[in-house]
């Protein structure tokens, strides 16, 4: 049986380009051959979830049915003038929508690390999409439901396994139209550039850091488990940088593929990374790293919490509210990564540093005259941010767990 995991090797791209070629010729001539597009999407989805992965495929089908019913149901409720916009109905829809994800995320905790039978590749990213939709339906921003478009948005195969996370209205705008020939040629250029940059990132640099160097460093770190206090050897520092580079190049490479393939299909999926290691504080870092996820958390959790807390006058101080918002956001993100101490500490670490960053920025604003700002402070802040981030990735990597508790 043919099974193709997305972007697993260069050969995958050859198959994918051959399959997309008719669609691209159509787009170039001003047609979007939707039926062909749907067939190709279905075929590549099938290849992800067939053979050994059939169980996941069934879980995906069930998931899609349930989510369709929830979104359709909630939209009918919101657009029917008879009903008022009740909070508990909204909350109910959200809870139902994330239920399968919660089950999937909690199963390993209660089943000795085994995966749930309702799990499938990309469940998180699909849930981000539907929850975002439900929120926008509540806001009244989404007023119509078209089953065909909804399914295309939800199951858009280039981004199915790990994002970037698109927004429904943005996606549909692209899907409904055909780019002008000039624009489409530009998209092809950008798309192919992204794909080739992705090759460099994922298949060369990611491989170098992740496959060639990381295992040896991990071995070196664990060899010094009991020879130095708390196992804190110099190798741990090397491991930290190597792991951070691996994480970036692997994931950024993957995201470049997803964005590049989307462009070839005439869909401008938002980018996920924008030189994250050039950020000069942690706040800016999150605007540059895994951007669609941090924007999702910002728009749908952080902002909504802060507005809600302000409306209900929960706290007097806006600063306190923002800080609680950070804690809530990053705790959620930590738990979403998995229920282990290191993911949660990773989240709390980021929240704490962000709170400190905000405090520092306020302090700096107040004492602007006395704080120097020149090329040195600029590069120093970039250096500090980079190292803070790498340290957080060291926590995230889980090696400290192996070093101290295993």
């Amino acid at each position: 049986m043919i099974n193709l995991q997305p972007y697993q090797n260069p050969q995958y791209f050859i198959l994918l380009l051959v399959a997309l070629l008719p669609l691209m010729i159509g787009l170039y001539h001003g047609h979007r051959w939707r039926i062909y597009e749907s067939l190709v999407s279905l075929l590549f989805l099938f290849f992800i979830f067939d053979a050994e992965k059939t169980g996941q495929g069934i879980a995906l089908i069930a998931y899609t049915l349930i989510q369709t019913l929830i979104v359709k149901g909630y939209l009918s409720y919101r657009t029917n003038k008879k009903f008022h916009n009740k909070f508990w109905v909204f909350a109910g829809a959200i809870i139902l929508s994330i239920l399968q994800l919660v089950i999937v995320k909690l199963t390993p905790l209660f089943a000795n690390g085994r995966d749930s039978i309702v799990a499938f590749l990309g469940i998180s990213y699909l849930t981000f999409k539907t929850v975002g939709m439900l929120m926008e339906i509540r806001d009244g921003a989404i007023k119509e439901f078209d089953l065909w478009k909804f399914l295309h948005f939800l199951l858009f195969f280039p981004t199915i396994s790990s994002g970037p996370i698109d927004r429904y209205r943005r996606f549909i705008k692209d899907y409904d139209k055909v780019p002008s020939q000039e624009k489409y040629v530009e998209l092809i250029g950008k798309g192919l550039h992204n794909i080739f940059l992705g090759f460099l990132y994922k298949f060369l640099l990611g491989y170098l850091f992740g496959t060639l160097w990381l295992p040896g460093l991990e071995q070196a770190v664990l060899t010094h488990k009991s020879t130095v206090p708390w196992g804190l050897s110099i190798y741990l520092v090397a491991y930290m940088y190597c792991y951070s580079m691996y994480l970036f190049f692997d994931f950024a490479g993957y995201s470049l593929f997803a964005v590049g393939i989307s462009y070839l299909m005439g869909i401008e999926t938002p980018v996920n990374f924008n030189k994250p290691f050039a950020a000069h504080n942690l706040k800016e870092f999150w605007n540059r790293w895994h951007m669609t996820l941090s924007f999702w958390f910002r728009d749908y959790i952080y902002m909504r919490f802060v507005f809600w807390a302000m409306k209900n006058k929960l706290l007097k101080s806006r600063i306190a509210m923002a800080n609680i918002g950070y804690l809530l956001l990053f705790l959620t993100m930590g738990i979403w990564h998995g229920e282990t101490w290191y993911y949660i500490v990773y989240g709390l670490f980021h929240a704490t540093v962000l709170i400190l960053t905000d405090a520092w920025l306020r302090f700096k604003k107040k004492h602007r005259q006395h704080i120097p700002s020149n090329w040195f402070t600029k590069y120093f802040s970039i250096f500090m941010t980079f190292n803070t981030v790498c340290f957080s990735f060291l926590i995230f990597s889980g090696i400290l767990d192996k070093l101290w508790f295993k």
């Binding site: 099974n3 053979a51 040629v185 092809i188 192919l192 071995q219």
Partner: protein, 420 residues
């Protein structure tokens, strides 16, 4: 038309790149390796060479003696077999295969891919007791020597009806490396489950993959080979013109003494300074519970033996010792090593592998070891003499009686004291 031109400008370089890459990787080429490259590779210990295939095959055809081991091979003092055999006519040209972390499973896949080049050859295998920890080979270390080319070769030649091949497939699947490519993973699962490999996987792994990987090996492996020829030349300088065991042993004693002055364990100064000094306090009595008597390594080792049987290979096994003073300090028990030795020798001898150099009790001979667990000066000199005798003996058609019992958990867990 303007847009079409722009499109052409964008696509043309990509198409050219794709065509060139495909032509290079899948075209009907053969890029032979020179004897020069093989000579350089024979002492390089580079992981590329181990992962590759072409250079090793040519080395076997050119009459090199494969020496498989792990970290001890990199202890190049003046008595290292590569040095002695360069200075004197010792009757063999060693080709070193192994680095820290290479164990039976890595050598199994490496020798498997040698195919018929291995037929009727002699080889030397250094058995480190440290391989035989309960958990078996560290998946990460295995991963850094994992070769897709060798895995592909294994898949193309594996027989699902053979217990050995099913066991090998299962072991590879237990490593992250075995799952790094879906087609390889699916093929391994088929072998492990005694099923036929699907047509698609046969095509991608067997047809497409193997050509591509072979070309990559032929083109790239030679580009990244560490050169130690200068180092080996330098090491030969202190040696007298003619081989004389007594004289060399005295020289090894003197050199050993000269290089082990900053510690009480007889460990080479630089190694002690760089790798041990800082940690030495924490290591006192840290190995009292170490055991090398159980675990999957025994069955992984059986795969290697099976390989030798299949290709009528005559191997010489060298069981390496642990530094005695270091054992006393860390609390590693000699009795445990004795039991390990009994178990591994039972596995060898009961199946007809009788060329064994058992050094496991020689770790207390002065300057036999270069550091904690690695042979040096006088130890290497002894090993070289054994290899010299080994290659002088006329080659007989080996007769091995393989026993699948050694793939079982029962054997892995068997207490050596219950052995006859």
């Amino acid at each position: 038309m303007n847009n079409l031109k722009k499109l052409g400008k964008i696509i043309a370089p990509m198409i050219l790149a794709a065509v060139l890459a495909i032509a290079l990787l899948y075209g009907p080429w053969h890029f032979p390796a020179s004897s020069q490259t093989v000579k350089k590779a024979s002492t390089s210990l580079t992981a590329n060479v181990l992962r590759g295939d072409q250079i090793k095959d040519k080395a076997l055809d050119d009459g090199y003696l494969m020496m498989m081991g792990s970290s001890e091979l990199s202890r190049f003092d003046s008595f290292h077999p590569s040095v002695l055999s360069q200075k004197y006519h010792r009757g063999y040209k060693p080709f070193l295969l192994g680095s820290p972390g290479t164990q039976s499973l890595t050598h199994f896949f490496s020798t498997e891919a040698m195919g018929k080049h291995l037929d009727n050859k002699r080889v030397v295998v250094f058995i480190s007791p440290q391989w035989f920890v309960k958990e078996g080979v560290d998946p990460r270390m295995f991963g850094s020597y994992y070769s897709k080319q060798q895995a592909t070769y294994f898949i193309n030649h594996a027989n699902p009806n053979s217990l050995a091949d099913r066991y090998a497939a299962r072991r590879l699947l237990a490593m992250p490396s075995g799952k790094s490519d879906t087609d390889i993973e699916n093929s391994l699962k088929a072998i492990a489950d005694k099923r036929a490999i699907s047509g698609w996987d046969k095509f991608t792994v067997g047809k497409l993959g193997s050509v591509n990987l072979r070309h990559q090996d032929q083109i790239f492996t030679r580009l990244f080979i560490d050169n130690r020829e200068q180092l080996i030349d330098n090491r030969t300088r202190v040696l007298p013109d003619h081989y004389d065991y007594q004289r060399l042993d005295q020289l090894a004693f003197d050199l050993g003494k000269e290089h082990t002055t900053n510690n009480e364990f007889g460990i080479e100064n630089k190694f002690y300074q760089r790798k041990l000094k800082r940690y030495v306090k924490g290591l006192k009595n840290s190995q009292t519970h170490f055991t090398y008597e159980y675990g999957p390594e025994f069955s992984d080792f059986q795969l290697l033996l099976n390989q030798f049987q299949r290709h009528h290979v005559t191997p010489l096994f060298v069981i390496t010792p642990v530094n005695g003073a270091w054992m006393d300090y860390t609390g590693l028990h000699q009795s445990m090593l004795d039991r390990f030795d009994r178990k591994i020798k039972y596995q060898l001898q009961s199946q007809g592998f009788n060329n064994i150099v058992d050094l496991h009790r020689d770790g207390r001979i002065p300057f036999f070891m270069q550091d904690t667990i690695h042979i040096g000066w006088r130890g290497w000199l002894r090993v070289d003499r054994h290899i010299h005798h080994f290659v002088q003996q006329p080659l007989k058609q080996p007769n091995y009686q393989m026993n699948d019992y050694f793939y079982t958990k029962k054997w892995q867990k068997r207490n050596p004291q219950t052995l006859p």
